[in-house]
């Protein structure tokens, strides 16, 4: 299902994902992650350009959290998590 969402991701989904990544998610992903497309250089979590997570992996991680990374399930609506998944997987070319 997530893949279907990512596959049909419209440009606004990607734009929404980028906005969340760089600032609107709280805390923003970029604070902890480096992602060239987003222009972020966070050094707490893995460099997403290297990790190239697919959409399902981004969605699972953002929903559940992992290690010291917060879970966003109760902070972000499912549509935002899908937008992040679409954005990160396309920005890193993983999709």
């Amino acid at each position: 299902m997530l893949l279907a969402v990512a596959g049909s991701a419209a440009a606004d989904d990607i734009a929404r994902g980028k906005a969340l990544f760089t600032g609107e998610a709280s805390p923003p992903c970029g604070l902890c992650h480096t992602l060239a497309d987003a222009g972020t250089e966070g050094a707490i979590g893995p460099v997403l350009d290297d990790l190239k997570p697919d959409a399902a992996r981004v969605a699972a991680t953002v929903t559940q959290g992992v290690g010291v990374m917060p879970a966003y399930a109760e902070i972000l609506p499912a549509s935002d998590i899908a937008a992040l998944a679409a954005y990160v997987s396309s920005a890193t070319g993983a999709q």
Binding site: A60, G65, V68
Partner: protein, 396 residues
């Protein structure tokens, strides 16, 4: 010829897509590891690359074959799991100058590692294992590193027994219920520290066995494993063994850090982590096969592996060659290094041509045995089900 691979995991199906020749070698790694053969990160570049799977810069797994079945795991193949990026190795330049603050004791204060050593030094062998070891064998989707068997090792720690230091400082405060250790990683600006600080609380009973460790297998503790000093709680999952230990406090409440409050909590699939759910503290009885050695002409096979008891000494291991239909007692091939250590085992047997599902099932002195299946749980913690850890051996 002999081929082996772990079974019971959809990911395996992905790994066999390659050539038949490659399948035996690659089948032991989760699919993700294959997709990206990343170099070792600089802070751990002294590890043996062939024995390590680099999941991320902060999560390095020992391969099943690379682990073998040693009584003690050499440091250069020991897994690494850092919750935050490892600090600069500069902090290990002068270990004796490293300072640790003590709070919640009769006379709080700060002591250098050099001073702490004057309270005496002990060594202990124990299993170090990540809570998520075996996560890859669950069928539900889990976030986090997909460890199979290699987020574990059996090592010697040398350090200062915490109980002696605390006794000298007047003992824990009367209201203390938890021993709380804080890691010394530098935290980024702009974030509430409790969201990412590595701070873990364990019951004060851990004081009886806890060490402030400064050596790993007789060598100064490297930064990759928490040097210059690490809190070691024998029998407890890795996360409780706080690296770069900067503060030890006896507290009435558990740490407010997220890693304590909602992280590392055992709960049903679909539930968020919260205080009140069991925290990942004591390890459980577990074993796995690491190698079959085979005399091709006779069909003679030596099944080898490692077995641990958790917090009660491992007392026996049975091996099944038919997926759990029947079991034979294996023999320990290494010394009894105490309740918290693992022991290598082996079973010498003859195998006919065909495919055999080889499983191991350990029992500890308290009478606990590995279950056939460990219940799926949200974060994929604590897997010690024997079925998931079995391998398939093909004799042809």
């Amino acid at each position: 010829m002999i081929g082996q691979h772990p079974i019971n995991r959809r990911k395996f199906l992905l790994t066999t897509g390659g050539t038949a020749a490659g399948a035996a070698a690659v089948g032991l790694m989760p699919a993700r590891a294959l997709a990206q053969a990343k170099p070792l990160p600089a802070y751990a570049d002294w590890k043996k690359p062939d024995a390590m799977i680099v999941h991320t810069a902060q999560t390095l797994e020992t391969t099943r074959a690379g682990m073998g079945s040693p009584a003690i795991t050499p440091a250069d193949i020991l897994y690494v799991r850092n919750n935050l990026p490892a600090p600069s190795a500069d902090i290990t330049a002068d270990p004796d100058a490293w300072e640790i603050a003590f709070e919640g004791v009769g006379e709080p204060g700060t002591m250098s590692l050099g001073d702490l050593k004057t309270y005496g030094v002990e060594s202990i062998a124990c299993v170090l294992q990540c809570s998520g070891n075996g996560r890859a064998f669950f069928d539900h989707e889990t976030s986090g590193t997909q460890w199979s068997v290699g987020a574990a090792g059996n090592v010697f720690w040398t350090g200062v027994p915490l109980r002696r230091v605390v006794a000298a400082m007047g003992g824990p405060s009367a209201s203390a219920r938890f021993l709380t250790g804080t890691g010394g990683e530098t935290l980024p600006e702009g974030l509430d520290p409790t969201t990412i600080i590595v701070e873990r609380s364990v019951p004060t009973s851990a004081l009886d066995v806890a060490l402030i460790a400064f050596e790993l297998n007789g060598e100064p503790l490297p930064v990759a494993h928490g040097g210059p000093a690490r809190l070691v709680v024998p029998g407890y999952y890795g996360v409780n063994n706080v690296k770069y230990i900067k503060k030890i406090a006896f507290t009435e409440e558990e740490s407010p850090a997220k890693i304590q409050q909602s992280g590392y909590r055992m709960r049903p699939v679909g539930e968020s982590g919260a205080p009140g759910q069991p925290s990942m503290y004591e390890m459980s009885v577990k074993s796995w096969v690491t190698a079959p050695l085979m005399d091709v002409s006779s069909g003679r096979v030596v099944i080898q592996g490692v077995a641990m008891g958790g917090v009660s000494a491992v007392s026996g291991v049975d091996v099944s060659l038919d997926g759990g239909g029947s079991w034979k007692a294996a023999e320990f091939t290494g010394p009894d290094l105490g309740a918290y250590a693992w022991r290598p085992f082996e079973l010498v047997t003859d195998l006919s041509v065909g495919t055999h599902v080889v499983a191991s099932r350990a029992t500890n002195a308290a009478g606990d045995s590995q279950p056939e299946n460990f219940p799926p749980n949200h974060r994929g913690y604590g897997n010690n089900g024997w079925k998931a850890h079995a391998i398939e051996l093909t004799v042809s």
